[in-house]
């Protein structure tokens, strides 16, 4: 009986899928006809000639139609079946595994330079440690810092890069002018950044949602434009070069006799500085993570999350929401300041170009992609976004597919935009969307994203 019913139903769904594919093909044809089908080129007399690309046009339409048919016949039913399946509780082995995942990952990250040197050799390792290790860790740290403001306190901040800039310029200017060491300037840069964080916090305290986002965006631009125009102090567009590099407890990383390599009886190589920078940023990132995890379990962290959930209820419980918001801004900015001074020390050169809105957007998308409030999610998202960008710099093999004129870096943003759209369809609340409670009586149960607030501002 059931089997007999199933056959016509399937035929019906096949017909529906065909019709769907045909409609999609029609839409694709209408779109591609002007975009791909016709091309105007100037001929040898410099006259415009219309060239038609019939084959490519129909190939594209066919690809779209077949893809749509495949989706309607295979993917969509599978997704429907999956949605109907009852939710499974995690298997015991997975629960047991999850406990060891974090120590394992930290172990890998700590051994990363050694692994890279062993596999790629000393010469090539610098690039891998610097481009993948250090670069990703800077963004992991920035993501964790912004996570305090956006993920925990629910305050949408589009100008986070301003504090990164404040940190970088604080280090660069103070180190060059007063010759202070990196270790003194690191906390100082953090303090200055958090001071600016509070300064931004005050005027925007009453703003929420879109309005807060616009004002923070403007604040980020103000800082950048002040840096550009305050030429006497910041050297404007030309930037600041020759920034002192961090030393290994007073021992510089250079080829001199009192340099790092000479002191430890090693052959000089730039890799030692890179490895040192790697562990430095790793330490800073882990500090950010540790502080954030601790803060979440303290009253101030719970107040941030309560603020994200319901500000009026917070006030009715005697929580000073002004101070609570300002601490979130200040602490988030402080970590950006740390990261900024590290950035300046690593690059040796900074200019306003490094602190554009694009950077804020990248950091914010790391936080959103990772799942607001989730430490692990943010780290994974930073690896995917920044690591992905770096990988796409050298995808030489794509040239053999798309021809020698193909430049993969040109398509980076396109591919990223596409990946972002896909992830937001698949996981609208980020990679890790559930919230772990900060305290529990008997059992720590994760809270589903549908209940957790996203904040109003």
């Amino acid at each position: 009986m059931a089997a007999a019913d199933k056959a016509p139903a399937m035929r019906l769904s096949f017909v529906a899928a065909l019709r769907d594919a045909a409609v999609t093909a029609l839409v694709a044809f209408a779109l591609f006809l002007p975009l791909v089908g016709f091309q105007t080129v100037s001929d040898f007399r410099n006259e415009l000639v219309l060239v038609t690309h019939g084959t490519i046009l129909f190939a594209l339409v066919a690809v779209v139609a077949v893809a749509r048919l495949g989706y309607a016949l295979a993917v969509a039913p599978w997704m429907r079946r999956r949605a109907l399946r009852p939710a499974r509780t995690a298997a015991p082995w997975r629960v047991a595994m999850e406990r060891y995942v974090i120590p394992f990952v930290i172990g890998i990250v700590v051994c990363y330079p050694a692994i890279v040197i062993a596999t790629a050799g000393m010469g090539r390792a610098v690039k891998w440690i610097d481009n993948f290790g250090v670069q990703i860790l800077i963004y992991v740290m920035l993501g964790w810092g912004l996570n305090i403001v956006v993920g925990l306190a629910g305050l949408l901040d589009l100008g986070y890069v301003a504090f990164y800039a404040v940190g970088a310029y604080s280090y660069a200017l103070l180190a060059k002018t007063f010759g202070l060491s990196f270790w003194i300037l690191l906390p100082l840069a953090g303090c200055l950044a958090s001071f600016w964080g509070i300064l931004l916090g005050f005027p925007v305290l009453r703003l929420r949602g879109d309005y807060l986002a616009i004002v923070t965006l403007a604040f980020g631009e103000i800082i950048r434009i002040v840096i550009i125009n305050f030429v006497d102090l910041t050297n404007g567009y030309a930037g600041i070069g020759g920034i002192p590099r961090p030393t290994f407890f007073g021992i510089p990383f250079n080829a001199d006799d009192d340099g790092f390599a000479a002191v430890f009886g090693l052959e000089f190589s730039p890799i030692y500085r890179t490895i040192f920078l790697y562990y430095l940023i790793l330490g800073l990132a882990l500090l950010t993570c540790w502080v954030t995890v601790r803060l979440r379990r303290l009253p101030v962290g719970r107040a941030w999350e309560a603020l994200r959930e319901d500000e009026i209820a917070c006030r009715s419980l005697g929580i000073n929401t002004t101070n609570t918001k300002l601490t979130a801004f200040a602490i988030g900015a402080m970590f950006a300041g740390f990261a900024g001074s590290f950035f300046a020390a690593r690059q040796g050169f900074i200019s306003p170009e490094s602190f554009t809105f694009m950077e804020s957007a990248t950091i914010l998308s790391i936080v959103v992609l990772g799942g607001m409030g989730s430490q692990i999610g943010v780290a994974v998202a930073a690896i995917a976004m920044i690591g992905g960008t770096e990988i796409m710099r050298d995808l030489g093999f794509l040239k053999s597919v798309f021809g020698p004129t193909f430049d993969p870096t040109q398509y980076r943003m396109l591919i990223f935009g596409f990946a972002m759209v896909l992830i937001m369809i698949w996981r609208p609340r980020g990679l890790i969307s559930t919230r772990a409670p900060s305290v529990f009586l008997k059992e720590r149960k994760r809270i589903g994203a549908d209940l957790v607030g996203q904040g109003h501002g």
Binding site: V291, L298, E305, C314, L317, G318, N320, P437, K445, G453
Partner: protein, 301 residues
């Protein structure tokens, strides 16, 4: 002072205007210590506005809202406090607070007036236990040395945290939600959310608990349980100010009823007296046509 008695909260000439609309007009009443005072009235009478003024969410256009901690003799310093321009006046017989001078969070923190909301305002994405810990924020903040000592988990903070969890558990037990302590508050059924909101307000250690329609949306059994809970809170010596539509709740548990209509007080007394008051009946049930003018004239006078 005319009140040498057990007055806890004095509302004097409270007026609240929103532009041209006068939501509360020259309202005066007292709430006595250890009693349940009910504020009733038809929809739009201005009850929630009075609540928002008392809890600092609105700044009243006019009037004085005075609350005392400690003994009744503190009232003798009321005029001194009013003239001093300060928010509160500590003293040997307990502090005196002027609520209209305080921002909302200080009303809860220093004057220790807790409130619930007409439309429940829990933290839905936080667990039931976390909700009650947020309510103990100020004490825990102090114990954590404003976060700095707490970062290193000093023993005093850990002890304070244990106390806070014990207190939260005790309240959860009292409202029958202990088994759901680790569930998100947003997952609780409606009646349980109402009870949790009351427990959360009680975790702030209030002297006055303001409840805005706590029985709204409850079935008769839940409403009965609520009555018992409120009476047990009253037995602890906490005074309650209540806005309620459910007459079974009001008449059964309140000691003192104030009736508002169009922002004006039309009756003030014990439940029995209010129930038989002609003006109250007119406001609630309406009156026959020939009586309208007479009653309206009476109301205006």
């Amino acid at each position: 002072m005319s009140q040498g008695d057990e007055t806890l909260l004095r509302v004097e000439h409270l007026t609240m205007r929103f532009g041209g609309l006068t939501a509360v007009d020259d309202l005066s009443f007292n709430a006595r210590q250890g009693e349940i005072t009910a504020l009733i009235g038809p929809n739009g009478a201005g009850k929630t506005t009075v609540f928002n003024c008392i809890t600092g969410f609105y700044k009243p256009s006019e009037g004085r809202l005075a609350l005392r901690h400690g003994t009744a003799s503190a009232w003798s310093r009321l005029e001194a406090l009013t003239d001093s321009g300060r928010r509160s006046l500590p003293g040997a017989d307990g502090a005196l607070h002027l609520l209209e001078r305080m921002p909302d969070y200080l009303v809860a923190q220093q004057a220790r007036v807790a409130r619930t909301f007409q439309n429940i305002r829990l933290f839905p994405g936080m667990t039931v236990l976390e909700n009650l810990l947020v309510a103990q924020h100020n004490r825990l903040m102090l114990a954590s040395g404003y976060t700095f000592a707490g970062l290193f988990r000093v023993p005093t903070y850990r002890a304070a945290m244990r106390d806070a969890i014990d207190k939260a558990s005790a309240w959860l037990d009292r409202v029958g939600l202990l088994v759901r302590a680790d569930d998100p508050a947003g997952d609780l059924p409606y009646g349980a959310q109402r009870r949790l909101e009351i427990a959360r307000a009680m975790c702030t250690d209030p002297v006055l608990l303001c409840l805005d329609e706590p029985a709204a949306g409850l079935n008769p059994r839940e409403s009965g349980e609520l009555n018992e809970l409120l009476l047990s809170i009253k037995a602890d010596g906490i005074s309650i100010l209540l806005i309620e539509h459910d007459m079974s709740v009001v008449m059964e548990i309140s000691d003192h009823v104030i009736v508002l209509d169009y922002g004006v007080k039309i009756a003030d007394g014990d439940p029995q007296a209010v129930r038989n008051d002609a003006k109250v009946i007119a406001a609630y049930l309406g009156v026959a046509d020939e009586e309208v003018e007479r009653v309206e004239a009476e109301v205006r006078s």
